[in-house]
Amino acid sequence: MMLKPEILAPAGNLERLRVAVLYGADAVYVGGQKYGLRARADNFTDAELGRGVHFAHRHGAKVYVTLNAFLHDEDFAGLPAYCKFLESIEVDAVIASDLGVIRCIKKHSDLKIHLSTQQSCLNSYSAKVWKSLGIRRIVLGREASVIEAGQIIDKTGLEIEMFVHGAMCMSYSGNCTISNYTAGRDSNRGGCIHSCRFEYDQQLEKATSKNTLHVINNNKANTIQSNFMSSKDLMGLEQVPDFFKYGIHSLKIEGRMKSAFYVATTCKVYRRMVDAYADSSLTEKIFLDSREEISTIPHRDFISGSLQEPAGKDSVYTQENTVGNGTHKYHGLVLESDSKRMVVRLFAPLTVGDTIDLLPFTADTIPYKVETLTSLTGEAMIVAKQESVVCIPKPDHFEAVAAFNIVRSKNLEVCHEV
């Protein structure tokens, strides 16, 4: 019987954790206040972690906490106690990169440890090292293909987790320290400033080829401006059959800094694809619908990364906007839902007459033309501002709509990540 891979979703906060789980994630990965690689994010407080784990477990999902920074000696303060805390709230695993951190985790807890992609583990011999150090799952570097992942599984018996969707670095993970020197922020302790997304002025000094034994182009070219280090986004929908075939344990979606809209959409799409393949009902239509659905969220042009073959010259994202448009924008989040009405928190203005989409957790998207808007104090409205909370009537056939459902609308202008 083929292994059905887990869908592992990012959760930047408690709200997105709930969204991820309700939209079908089998597991979520989250960061605490320290020891992770997202210093800019608010991350989970201890209280929120407890609530998040409780919620996830109640819905049959797992929680992995990132401890994946490359720590300096002084950063270890509090780590032993934190490991014990994570164990006490029954976190399912931690994700670590640094051998010193891994040794600390093992010394002070029995937490299961996953090796972060930050270690750039890319081959079976490297995987064997980590296996003998107590690692049971490896988040493979994004340079490895699905076939290579399968070979590593066969040779080591380890669980392999692969990134299947989201933003990508151009460098080997853990091998870009530009921000350390340009911004004084350690990229390997959470301070990355995405130097790869900037436009660079480049001037060619020399190009040579040993085979031809001469200088091909020794003319200093005019300065060329390019985003030569900006990668397109990864999308692994086409590789879903391969993930099954080669026994990949976990399909990881990138994006702890991304919106609940992104989380919901990616989880729902990959859930549908994986479930359909598992019960042999995956059709071309489902694939095309999934492809269309995944394009509703903000994204750069998609590539399959190195999932099939090494990412090549078409992997550079060259558009001016650092993030591309999706076909839709994040309009709101359903906070409460009963038989008669929905209470919606808005992230964009809403006017009577607008058409929005409601995204149930599993059912098809429901387009809805807003005929009536009411404030929470019962006043009829024509226009509701961004950041307001409104009541919208709920038609009888909208029983699938529930709290934490995403509301979206067609994107008529440039869309930025929330």
């Binding site: 950063d75 060619l204 190009a207 928190r345």
Partner: protein
């Protein structure tokens, strides 16, 4: 304290022989080194010369490899006389593991320049690799006091970059040819390209960018230089200081100038830094403060989201009402204060709570929408704190 440097030609080897205290020479094959150019035949020729001069040849294997690439490389390397090398220096742990499995008598040198910045990690690798590990290359992100501490506390030989380019980016992708020489990209698998790259973020600083058959490397605009600051490290017992002159050679040499600079170090020439032809810096030798800014990146409020946090303001009509979202179940008598996004904390007035239907509530459910009369200064993101057991 010894010095090491890279060699590519017989002249380089001669220079190293003449340079005071140069004991190890680093040899980079095109097959397995990020910036390697040497063929197997060239290397075999060089090794003989190295041995004749009582220098220690170290094979540099510093590329990262996916499974298929790794298997192909290992198949190739089986045809090499690896035992002619005094040691093999690796970055990919898989390479180290393969050497341990197949060549247990060849000393290993492990480059931890990118990912081991604490003593526990370093100790861990020392314990793991045991007697076959003869040296660890430490990161320049470690300040002097840490380097000294590790030299004294960890039973291992260490090497540090004493002078040379600082690698800040390593990608397997060929990023220069796509932009700067697209017409040559497909026809030349061994295309080498050299460019400068600068951005607004780097404030115009031009970073040396190099494309080799193994990918793209970017270096800082200034070189690491601590050759005039080695006294304490030497006293602490640092084994080797590496001097990287590859980028300073116009032709195929890699060690041009090694004799002079080693001589100057031996003579404790105070102007040795002025001799170096590029601008220099010692970014982390005194201290590494690259995590200091992180506290400022977080909101003041977020750390307050503990068990005493009852609800959050999510909306409101100024002067009229507030909309809250409850973060836990609570009794309205528990409410105590409101903390604004600025960090200012105010007493929360004794006002009635209603649910989203307008019904008065005392016991508020978790994850529910609540309405209260307007509270002065309240704004989105403010937290309602309470008294909890």
């Amino acid at each position: 304290m010894k010095f090491s440097t890279f060699v590519k030609t017989p002249l380089d080897i001669k220079r190293c022989e003449d340079a005071p205290n140069v004991k190890e020479v680093l040899i980079e094959p095109a097959l397995i080194a990020q910036q390697g150019e040497l063929s197997k035949a060239e290397i075999e020729s060089l090794i003989s010369l190295v041995h004749e001069r009582s220098l220690k040849p170290v094979l540099v294997w510093d590329i990262l490899m996916t499974e298929s690439s790794f298997c192909n490389i290992c198949n190739d390397l089986r045809r090499w006389s690896l035992d002619r090398f005094g040691a093999i220096r690796v970055k990919d742990l898989g390479a180290a593991e393969w050497i341990m499995s197949n060549y247990p008598d060849i000393p290993l040198q492990l480059s931890l320049e990118g990912n081991s910045h604490n003593v526990d990690s370093i100790r861990g690798w020392v314990e793991y690799y045991g007697n076959q590990l003869e040296k660890i290359v430490l990161s320049i992100e470690l300040p002097e006091k840490k380097l000294i501490q590790y030299c004294k506390e960890v039973p291992m030989k260490f090497e540090i970059l004493g002078a040379g380019p600082i690698l800040i980016f390593y990608s397997p992708r060929h990023l220069l040819s796509r932009v700067l020489a697209p017409e040559d990209e497909d026809s030349n698998s061994d295309l080498w390209m050299y460019a400068t790259s600068s951005s607004e973020e780097s404030q115009g600083r031009e970073f040396m960018t190099k494309q080799t058959p193994h990918g793209t490397l970017m270096f800082l605009d200034k070189d690491q230089f601590i050759l005039d600051k080695l006294e304490n490290l030497e006293a602490a017992g640092i084994d080797t200081v590496r001097i990287d002159l590859r980028h300073l050679s116009e032709n195929r040499d890699a060690a041009n100038g090694i004799e002079e600079i080693c001589q100057r170090i031996q003579e404790k020439d105070p102007s040795v830094r002025k001799w170096w032809p590029r601008k220099t810096l010692t970014p982390f030798f005194r201290t590494n403060a690259t995590s200091k800014q992180f506290k400022r990146l977080k909101s003041k409020l977020h750390v307050l989201r503990d068990e005493s946090c009852l609800a959050q303001v999510i909306s409101g009509e100024s002067g009229k009402f507030l909309t809250l979202y409850s973060l836990r179940e609570f009794d309205t008598t528990q409410k105590k204060s409101i903390v604004l996004p600025s960090g200012e904390e105010l007493n929360f007035p004794d006002i009635a709570f209603k649910d989203s239907r307008g019904k008065a509530v005392q016991l508020c459910e978790a994850d529910s929408v609540l309405i209260t009369p307007w509270v002065r200064k309240a704004c989105n993101g403010a937290l309602i704190k309470g008294v909890v057991d």
